[in-house]
C-alpha cells in the first residue's frame, strides 16, 4: 500500500501507516518500548525521555537527494549520535530502530534513576502499588541501590485535594508525580476542560487546579487511570484496597444510554462484615463505545447498590400496612390479581431495566391482555428501531463514532450532550476535530457549540419546525451540508419539548434522515439521547413509550411499576392508583409506599443481563457482588409472575430469557450470550502485558457487544410522516420555564454516592440578565419560582446562557419540574436570609 511504511525494529520488519510513531509501530509487533508521558490517546510531548531508542535512517546524498547504497547495493543506514524519543518520532521507510542495545538500556536506566531521585518510594502505602508503571519499570531498569543521598530529597505536599477538602474527587500526591503531563493533556485535549495545569518550574513544578470548584470536569477520574504513578487517586478508592486483593468483573454503566464498558473491582473484606463489596469502577476498553474513558457519574455513582435503604424482602399490605412476606405469598397474590385484571392490567417499566427484565415483564403483562409500557419522557423508540444507527450488515462494519470524521454530518438537536450522555459528547467532539461537520441546534448555548460548524439557535418551541425546515431545498447552509454529507447521524433529545413534542421531533429527525437518504447504512441514522441506559432496548423489544399519567391508569384495575417512581417524580398521586398496585424496586420509593405488594429487586451489579445502548449495541454485564437478602433479578420475578398467570413458559434466568428474546424478536435473531461476549484485538492495545502504555484501564476480555441491525437494514422501507409540534401556551407577562438535564442530580441511584454531593448544584434557575434586571434579581439571590400552583425557592443564576424570556430549570435537583416548557413567574424571595 502506498501509505504504508516498512521499517525494522530490533530486527523485526513491520509495516505501519505513514505518520505512525515508532513507539506505536513497536507495539504492533509486541515490542514494548517503555513510556511514561506518552499515551496513545494523547498527543506526544517527549517529556519523560524514557522511550529513547537508537534510530538509523536511510542515508541520502545531500546534493542529489539519491539514496546512498552500500557495497551490497542496499541502502546505507546512518545512526545519529543521539538517542531519539520513540514517542515523538514518526516512522520512515527503511528506518532501523534499535531498542535492545546496551546503549539504550543504559539510557533508560539513567532516566529511571533520575525519576527515582525525587520519588518518595512509598509503594507500600501507595494505591498504585501493584499496578504501577513506575514500579514495574523500576523492576526492569531501576538501580538496585540509591546513589542519591536520602536526606537531600525534596519534600513535597501529599494528600492535596484537587478542589476543596470536602468536594475533591481527586487527590494529588506531589511527591509521587513524575510530571508526565498526562493528566493535564487529558483535560486539555480529550475533555476540553482547561482546569488542570503546571505551576512553578524545574524541580518545583507541580500540578495545580485553577477552576472553581477544583478540577471541575465530568471526566476527572480518568486521569487516575492514566497517571503512570500513584500521584492521582480518587476520593472513592484511595486507601481502599491493594490492587492484588481485587477481583474484577465486567459490567456496563447504567447511568445513561452510552453504555460505557466498565470493570468492577471487588473484594471480600472484614470491614464490610465479610461481604464481597465493590471498591472501584474502571473503564473497560471498547473502542466502539467508550474507548478507555468513563465519566465521573459512571465511576462514582455505584454506591446506591450498597445503600442500607435497599429493599431486601417482599412486602405485602396487611391491615393497611406493608409487612414482610415470603416470595410465595407475594407472588401468588400478585399473579392472581393480575390475571383477574386481564386487559385492565397496566404495566409501567423504567428504562434502567435490562433487556431480559423488560422482555419478561412485557410477555407477562401482554400474556394476560394487559398493556406493557415504558415509562419514559422521550418518545421515538418506534423510529430509532427502524432508522436508528445501522449495524452495517451489508458492509461488515457497524456504526462507530470513533471512525467518523470528514464527510459525515452530525446533528445534535434539543440536547445538552455533555450533561445527558457525557461519553457521546467526547466522541462527537473528537469526530468534529477529525473533520466531521457538527451542527448543533438548540434554544440555548451548550458546550457542544464549541465544536459546531453550524450553531442553529431557535426559539423555545421551534425545534420541530426548525428540523422540518431543513428539508426545504437550499433553506440554509447547514441543511445543505447535512443533505450532501456522505454519512449523517442525528442525536435528538427532549430539551424544550413535552412528550408529544418529542414524538414530533423524533419524526422530524427521521424524516430528515429518510429524505436525505441517510438510513439503513452504517455510520448513518437516528440516536435518541434517552434518559436511561436501556430505553433503546425497550423499544427494540416492542414496548411502547408512554409516560405515567392519571389518564394511562384511568381504566386500570391493577398496576405494576417496575423500576420507576412516578409518585416520587410528582407525575402521579395516590388517588390515581388503581385498586391493586405492585411495585418492583430497589428502594421503598414513594410509589412503593403506596403499593399493595412491593417486590425487592437485585441491582444490575448483583446479577447478569444485557443492555442495548443508544447506538443499538447489545452489551452484557456480569454479577460482581451477591444480591442482598431475598432480592431477585427483575426478569426472574417477571418470569415467575408470567408463569403463575399461565402467560409465559420460559425460565427466569437471564440467559434463558435472552434465548427467548433471540427466538422471538427479529432484531435479536441469532444472538446469544456467547456472541455478545466475543472480543477482538483492539487498537491501541492498552492494558496489555505492560501497564505503562495505556494506563490502568482493563483489557476487555468479556465482550464487545453486538450492534443490532435496524429494521431498515432488515428490509423495512422507512416512510416519512407528518411531524408537527403542538403550539406552546405562553401567557403574556410570564416567563417560560425550560427544564434542562444535569448529569449530577438527586436521583435515587445517584444520591447514595455522597462523595459527589458537593458537586450537585442547589436547585437554581438560570435567568437572562435583561429579565433579571427587570425583575430586580441579582446573581445568587434567592428567588421564588411560581409554577402552576406550586411556588418553590431556588437560587437565581444570572447568565446570558438563558435566552431572554426563558428560565432554565434543572431537572432532578429536588424541585418538581414540568414535563416540557411551561409558563412561570419568578420574583425575589421575600424571605430574609438567615
Amino acid at each position: 500500500m502506498a501509505d504504508q511504511v516498512t521499517l525494522t525494529i530490533d530486527g523485526v520488519s513491520v509495516s505501519v501507516p505513514k505518520g505512525t510513531l515508532i513507539v506505536d509501530a513497536a507495539k504492533r509487533i509486541d515490542n514494548d518500548i517503555p513510556v511514561f508521558c506518552y499515551h496513545p490517546k494523547l498527543k506526544p510531548v517527549g517529556m519523560c525521555r524514557m522511550c529513547l531508542v537508537e534510530v538509523g535512517r536511510v542515508m541520502k546524498d545531500r546534493a542529489t537527494g539519491q539514496v546512498v547504497l552500500d557495497d551490497a547495493g542496499q541502502p546505507k543506514v546512518g545512526f545519529g549520535p543521539k538517542l531519539e524519543t520513540a514517542c515523538t518520532t514518526p516512522v520512515e521507510p527503511g528506518m532501523v530502530v534499535v531498542g535492545a542495545s546496551q546503549k539504550v538500556t543504559d539510557a533508560r536506566d539513567d532516566i529511571l534513576e533520575f525519576l527515582l531521585t525525587s520519588h518518595p518510594l512509598d509503594c507500600p502505602v501507595c494505591d498504585k502499588g501493584g499496578e504501577c508503571p513506575l514500579q514495574n519499570l523500576t523492576l526492569r531498569h531501576g538501580p538496585g541501590k540509591s546513589r542519591f543521598v536520602y536526606d537531600e530529597k525534596q519534600k513535597n505536599d501529599k494528600h492535596v485535594p484537587l478542589g476543596g477538602p470536602d468536594d475533591a474527587l481527586i487527590f494529588l500526591d506531589r511527591e509521587r508525580c513524575i510530571q508526565c503531563a498526562r493528566c493535564t493533556r487529558f483535560c486539555d485535549e480529550i475533555a476540553d476542560d482547561h482546569v488542570l495545569g503546571f505551576y512553578q518550574r524545574g524541580r518545583k513544578i507541580e500540578i495545580a487546579t485553577f477552576s472553581e470548584p477544583g478540577f471541575d470536569s465530568k471526566f476527572s477520574g480518568n486521569t487516575t487511570d492514566i497517571c503512570p504513578v500513584g500521584a492521582l487517586t480518587t476520593a472513592d478508592f484511595r486507601f481502599g484496597a491493594r490492587p492484588w486483593e481485587l477481583t474484577t468483573s465486567a459490567s456496563i454503566c447504567n447511568h445513561c444510554p452510552v453504555g460505557c464498558n466498565t470493570t468492577f473491582s471487588t473484594r471480600r473484606e472484614a470491614k464490610s462484615g465479610g461481604k464481597q463489596v465493590i471498591k472501584r469502577v474502571l473503564p473497560r476498553q471498547n473502542e466502539q463505545v467508550n474507548e478507555v474513558w468513563i465519566c465521573d457519574k459512571g465511576r462514582f455513582g455505584y454506591h446506591f447498590i450498597e445503600s442500607p435503604a435497599r429493599l431486601t424482602a417482599p412486602l405485602v399490605r396487611k391491615d393497611g400496612k406493608l409487612v414482610e412476606a415470603t416470595w410465595d405469598e407475594a407472588l401468588t397474590r400478585v399473579a392472581e390479581t393480575f390475571k383477574a385484571a386481564g386487559s385492565a392490567l397496566v404495566g409501567l417499566a423504567g428504562g434502567r431495566l435490562s433487556n431480559e427484565d423488560l422482555f419478561a415483564f412485557k410477555q407477562a403483562v401482554s400474556g394476560v391482555g394487559g398493556k406493557a409500557l415504558l415509562d419514559a419522557p422521550l418518545a421515538g423508540g418506534d423510529l430509532t428501531t427502524v432508522v436508528g444507527v445501522s449495524a452495517g450488515v451489508n458492509s461488515g462494519a457497524g456504526t462507530d463514532l470513533g471512525q467518523i470524521g470528514k464527510g459525515t454530518a452530525i446533528l445534535v438537536v434539543a440536547s445538552d450532550l455533555e450533561e445527558e450522555a457525557p461519553l457521546w459528547w467526547l466522541r462527537v467532539k473528537a469526530a468534529a476535530e477529525r473533520g466531521a461537520t457538527l451542527i448543533v441546534a438548540n434554544a440555548r448555548p451548550t458546550k457542544t457549540d464549541r465544536y459546531a460548524k453550524h450553531v442553529v439557535r431557535y426559539d423555545v418551541g421551534n425545534a420541530v419546525s426548525t428540523l422540518a425546515g431543513m428539508l426545504l431545498e437550499g433553506s440554509s447552509d447547514y441543511a445543505t451540508a447535512f443533505a450532501q454529507a456522505e454519512n449523517a447521524l442525528v442525536f435528538y433529545g427532549r430539551e424544550g419539548l413535552d412528550f408529544a413534542g418529542t414524538q414530533a421531533l423524533a419524526q422530524a429527525c427521521a424524516n430528515l434522515l429518510i429524505e436525505t437518504k441517510h438510513v439503513g447504512r452504517a455510520q448513518n441514522g437516528l440516536i435518541g439521547v434517552w434518559t436511561t441506559a436501556n430505553a433503546q432496548g425497550a423499544a427494540e423489544l416492542g414496548l411502547t413509550t408512554t409516560p405515567a399519567s392519571p389518564a394511562v391508569l384511568a381504566a386500570a384495575r391493577a398496576a405494576w411499576f417496575v423500576g420507576t417512581d412516578p409518585l416520587g417524580d410528582g407525575r402521579l398521586t395516590r388517588k390515581d392508583l388503581p385498586p391493586f398496585t405492585v411495585v418492583q424496586e430497589l428502594f421503598l420509593t414513594d410509589t412503593a409506599k403506596a403499593a399493595d405488594v412491593v417486590l425487592p429487586a437485585a441491582a444490575w451489579a448483583e446479577r447478569e443481563g444485557t443492555y442495548t445502548s443508544g447506538e443499538r449495541r447489545v452489551q452484557r454485564f456480569y454479577p460482581a457482588v451477591p444480591a442482598p437478602g431475598a432480592t431477585r433479578p427483575d426478569c426472574q420475578i417477571a418470569a415467575e409472575i408470567g408463569k403463575a398467570m399461565g402467560a409465559t413458559r420460559f425460565g427466569g434466568f437471564p440467559a434463558q430469557v435472552f434465548l427467548e428474546i433471540a427466538r422471538t424478536v427479529p432484531a435479536f435473531a441469532g444472538l446469544n450470550y456467547a456472541a455478545v461476549s466475543k472480543v477482538a484485538p483492539q487498537w491501541p492495545d492498552v492494558g496489555g502485558r505492560d501497564q505503562y502504555y495505556g494506563g490502568a484501564s482493563t483489557t476487555n476480555l468479556q465482550g464487545l457487544g453486538v450492534q443490532l441491525p435496524s429494521a431498515a437494514e432488515r428490509g423495512t422501507v422507512p416512510q416519512a410522516a407528518r411531524a408537527e409540534a403542538p403550539a406552546l401556551a405562553h401567557p403574556v407577562g410570564t416567563l417560560l420555564v425550560l427544564p434542562i438535564a444535569k448529569l449530577y442530580d438527586r436521583g435515587a441511584t445517584f444520591a447514595p454516592s455522597t462523595l459527589v454531593h458537593p458537586r450537585v448544584p442547589a436547585p437554581f434557575v438560570a435567568i437572562n440578565p435583561a429579565d433579571a434586571a427587570r425583575i430586580g434579581l441579582a446573581d445568587g439571590d434567592e428567588a421564588e419560582l411560581a409554577l402552576d400552583a406550586d411556588t418553590v425557592l431556588v437560587v437565581a443564576k444570572v447568565t446570558a446562557d438563558a435566552p431572554e424570556g426563558v428560565l432554565l430549570l434543572p431537572v432532578g435537583l429536588g424541585v418538581a419540574t414540568p414535563e416540557g416548557p411551561a409558563p412561570a413567574r419568578v420574583a425575589k424571595s421575600a424571605r430574609v436570609a438567615a
Binding site: I111, F114, I205
Partner: protein
C-alpha cells in the same frame, strides 16, 4: 575596527541617538524606506544572505537563510524579537535597546518586511521594565511619524509593533518557550519539528531573531553586503558585541569585528586582568560555556564562530567571563549549576532531576561534606544528563561541569574528605537563599 565608527553601538559615536530627530538626521529609517519602496522582500533576504549575517542569539545560524525557510503562502506571519537576554554575563541587548533603540526598531521592521509579516512582537526580559517603557515611547513616536501603522510610505505594507515582557525565566529565551510565553502559556520549550518558520507564534510561520542580529540589518540594507563584509571573517562577517565581566579591569560591552583575538579583547579593550593577576580560565558564552583553560594558544584564538568551535567551545552570545588565578572552579560550577537548576523548566526528566542532583553534590563539595567518590558521581550524573534533554538548556547545564572536571578536576578533589558523604544542610539561612536566587 576604527573606534570612532561603530555599526551597532553608533550611540557611542553620536550623542543623543535615542532621540528620533537625531536618529533621522543621521540617516535613520532610510534603509527601511529603501526596502519598502524599492526592494522586494526577496531582494532584502538576498542582501542579508550575501552579507553573511549570522544570528547573535547564540547559535550563529545564517539569518537570511532562516528568513527564507518561512512556509510559502502561509499567512499571517510574525516576527518575534528575542530580547530576553538572560544568559549570565550577557548585557549587550540592553545597551542597544536603551541607547540605540531606533536602529534596533528599524532592523526589526526591515526583518518584518523581508518576512512579509505585519506584526512584530518584541519579547523583553522582565527585569528590563524600564527599558520597555522607553521603547514604548519610541514605538509611539514611530506611529505618530508614520513609520508604523497602515500604508507605509504610501504602499500597501502595514506594520504593528508590540512589546511582551517576560516574567523572569531564562528558558523563555529559548525560542519555542518564548513563543509559548507570548501565547500566554507556561514557558516550556516545544517539540521540534515543527520549527517556528513553519508553525511558530499561534502556529503561524514566524521568524525569531535576537535583538543584536536585527540591529545589523539597517546597515546591510543601506550600505550593502560588501560594506558589511569589511569587518569580520569570511564565514563570520561583521562586528560583534562582546560582554566582558568577571575579573577584568574594564568590564562592559565592546563592539569588535568577529575574529578579534581573545588577547586583543582582554588586554587591549578590557584593560587586562583585574589587579594584574594571572588569567586562569575563561567562559566565552556565559554560564553555558565550555570552561577553557587559558594559555597562549587560546589567547591567540580569533573569536569567530568557527575558530572557537575548533577549540571545542561555542562563541554563543560572546558573554566573556574572565576567571583569574584565585578562582576555584568547584565554586564557579556550583554557581552555574545553581543557575541551571533554578532555571530548568521542569519539562523533561534528565534536566529537571539531574540539575537538582548535580546541585546537591556540588553543595556537598563546596560545604566540605563530600566524599572523594562524589566527584566521580558528579561526572557520572552530568554524563547521564548529556544528550538526553528535550531542549538545549539541560545540555548547557552539563557543559561547564564536564569541561571543568576535565581540566580542573583538582579544584574539586581538593574539597572532598575520606568520610562518607554528608547531606548539605537543608534549611539554608536566609542570606544564602537570596544569594541562590531561590
Amino acid at each position: 575596527m576604527d573606534q570612532g565608527k561603530h555599526i551597532l553601538f553608533r550611540h557611542r559615536d553620536i550623542a543623543n541617538l535615542r532621540d528620533l530627530d537625531v536618529y533621522l538626521a543621521h540617516g535613520g529609517f532610510e534603509a527601511f524606506k529603501k526596502a519598502v519602496t524599492t526592494l522586494t522582500p526577496q531582494q532584502v533576504i538576498d542582501e542579508v544572505k550575501n552579507a553573511g549575517l549570522r544570528g547573535r542569539g547564540g547559535a550563529g545560524f545564517p539569518t537570511g537563510l532562516k528568513w527564507s525557510f518561512l512556509t510559502k503562502d502561509s499567512f499571517p506571519r510574525y516576527v518575534v524579537i528575542n530580547s530576553d537576554e538572560s544568559e549570565p554575563g550577557t548585557f549587550k541587548d540592553r545597551e542597544i535597546l536603551t541607547h540605540n533603540p531606533f536602529q534596533f526598531l528599524e532592523g526589526a521592521m526591515i526583518t518584518a518586511y523581508a518576512s512579509q509579516a505585519n506584526t512584530i512582537y518584541n519579547y523583553v526580559r522582565g527585569e528590563y521594565w524600564d527599558v520597555v517603557a522607553g521603547l514604548e515611547r519610541c514605538v509611539a513616536q514611530l506611529y505618530e511619524r508614520g513609520f508604523l501603522g497602515e500604508k507605509l510610505f504610501g504602499t500597501e505594507f502595514k506594520l504593528d509593533f508590540f512589546h511582551h515582557r517576560g516574567a523572569g525565566a531564562y528558558i523563555c529565551g529559548e525560542e519555542s518557550a518564548l513563543l509559548e510565553s507570548i501565547e500566554g502559556k507556561l514557558g516550556q520549550p516545544r517539540l521540534k519539528p515543527p520549527f517556528p518558520a513553519d508553525k511558530g507564534l499561534y502556529a503561524k510561520p514566524t521568524v525569531v531573531n535576537n535583538t543584536e542580529t536585527v540591529t545589523n540589518v539597517p546597515f546591510i540594507i543601506q550600505h550593502g553586503a560588501a560594506a558589511y563584509r569589511q569587518n569580520g571573517t569570511e564565514k563570520s562577517p561583521g562586528t560583534k558585541l562582546f560582554c566582558l565581566s568577571g575579573h577584568i579591569q574594564k568590564p562592559g560591552n565592546v563592539e569588535l569585528p568577529l575574529g578579534t583575538t581573545l588577547r586583543e579583547l582582554i588586554y587591549t579593550h578590557g584593560g587586562g586582568i583585574r589587579g594584574g593577576k594571572g588569567f586562569k580560565a575563561v567562559m566565552l558564552s556565559g554560564a553555558s560555556s565550555v570552561v577553557l583553560k587559558v594559555d597562549d594558544a587560546l589567547l591567540d584564538t580569533p573569536l569567530d564562530y568557527e575558530s572557537v568551535a575548533a577549540k571545542g567551545a561555542m562563541l554563543g552570545s560572546a558573554s566573556v567571563i574572565v576567571l583569574d588565578e584565585t578562582v576555584d572552579l568547584s565554586w564557579v560550577i556550583l554557581k552555574t549549576t545553581r543557575f541551571f537548576k533554578h532555571e530548568s523548566c521542569g519539562k523533561c526528566t534528565p534536566c529537571r532531576e539531574g540539575t537538582f542532583w548535580m546541585l546537591s553534590i556540588l553543595e556537598r563539595i563546596n560545604q566540605g561534606g563530600a566524599a572523594k567518590a562524589d566527584v566521580d558521581l558528579l561526572q557520572n550524573v552530568a554524563s547521564q544528563i548529556q544528550n538526553k534533554c528535550l531542549c538545549p538548556l539541560g545540555e548547557f547545564s552539563v557543559t561547564p561541569v564536564l569541561a571543568s572536571l576535565k581540566t580542573f578536576r583538582g579544584d574539586f578533589d581538593a574539597r572532598t574528605t575520606d568520610g562518607a558523604p554528608k547531606a548539605a544542610p537543608k534549611s539554608a539561612p536566609k542570606k544564602a537563599a537570596v544569594e541562590a536566587g531561590d
